[in-house]
């Protein structure tokens, strides 16, 4: 046994020896059965390490974690910025938006679910082969979800500043948009690469963000 060489075997396996050291060690391995056998053992150890499996804890830890969440909110919202914007929206405008949304979401979903609905094969292939595009879509969805969550949170605080009729109309609009989003998401689970559905979902989410933003701005005016 040669400790000098044995102690370098891990570096040899990990590719951390320079060419000269590597050649010298390989020359030694050709004549030293002990080091050769040790090398095989170390490789076996590394292989075992790579195949270790994760195990659940013996007991459910959620209750303790949940108790620790109550005192610490995860995200500081910038509500001050949300409510200071100067936009105004009349009840009539909100109603018009509501009607338009119903038409768009209803018509959109009819187009999506009609029996002969097929995305353009060229566009479809393009989307499926474009991993960057898919990542961008996923990132955009996450960002939109975050924005919506923030705006909804702000609206919960601001609703008291709006009159009852406006609150009711905003809620009805949101319900319409949420149905459109939910239908698009449901359809996308079956056909994730469908260009039309992705665009429809993006449009509905943009509309929700815009409505929430305007409702918050309207409350800020009050």
């Amino acid at each position: 046994m040669n400790d000098l060489w044995t102690n370098r075997l891990s570096e040899y396996i990990d590719g951390e020896l320079d060419n000269t050291e590597r050649a010298a060690l390989e020359e030694h391995l050709a004549t030293c059965g002990h080091c050769y056998a040790t090398l095989a053992d170390l490789r076996q150890v590394i292989a075992r390490a790579k195949h270790l499996e994760d195990r659940e804890p013996a007991q459910d830890l959620w209750a303790g974690i949940r108790a620790g969440l109550t005192t610490d909110a995860p995200i500081p919202l910038r509500r001050d910025r949300l409510v200071r914007r100067r936009f105004s929206l009349t009840v009539g405008q909100l109603l018009a938006a509501s009607i338009a949304l119903v038409l768009m979401s209803g018509g959109g979903m009819w187009l999506a679910f009609r029996p002969d609905a097929q995305p353009s094969p060229i566009v479809q292939r393009g989307i499926e082969s474009n991993e960057t595009g898919n990542r961008n879509v996923a990132r955009w969805r996450v960002q939109s979800d975050i924005a919506i969550a923030e705006l909804q949170d702000a609206l919960t605080l601001n609703e008291g500043k709006l009159d009852t009729a406006t609150v009711r109309i905003v809620r009805e609009n949101l319900a319409v948009i949420d149905r459109a989003i939910s239908q698009a998401q449901h359809a996308l689970r079956r056909d994730p690469g469908n260009t039309y559905l992705n665009l429809h979902l993006a449009k509905a989410m943009r509309q929700k963000i815009e409505l929430l933003r305007r409702a918050n701005a309207l409350a800020g005016e009050s």
Binding site: R48, P57, I65, D72, P74, R141, D145
Partner: protein
Amino acid sequence: MPRQVLEDTLTADSIAADTALAASGDASAFERLYRTHVARVHTLVRRMLDADEADDVTQDVFIRAWQKLSTFRGESAFGTWLHRLAVNVVLARRKTVGIERGRFIADDGPLDRATGKRETLELSLDFEEALAQLPEGARQVFVLHDVEGYRHEEIARMLGVVPGTSKSQLHHARMALRRHLER
């Protein structure tokens, strides 16, 4: 789209959505994230620290994750972010329990004692148990390098040692585990 790819995509989308919801304060979404990732986090903690600390530290990791969700930018997968956070919590724990840098470097004594136990250990000792027998320094380097895939430079930075120490600890750990494999 192949079924597995589709399932992976849906899982990734679901985790991304739950991450966004949790960041807005939705504890139910955070519980789903916990259930998806707890085995990975708990296993990492158990391997890096003593088994009897694993539950407490795992809970600490998830509570910190909740507190820090606002800093998660979505540039990496949530699981990757959480894993890195878990490593940081483990290493911070290591410091708070008084394992000084000097002791980490001069860890060969316990390593020798661990490998010297081979004659008295049960023949059925499995790899995880053998790993748990290693002294902490060697065990942590082995877990970070061979199990988790970190490079020596990263490990050295995290542990506050030089890369040569990380390499030396890794080799000692592998040699010790090799002796257990020999049975």
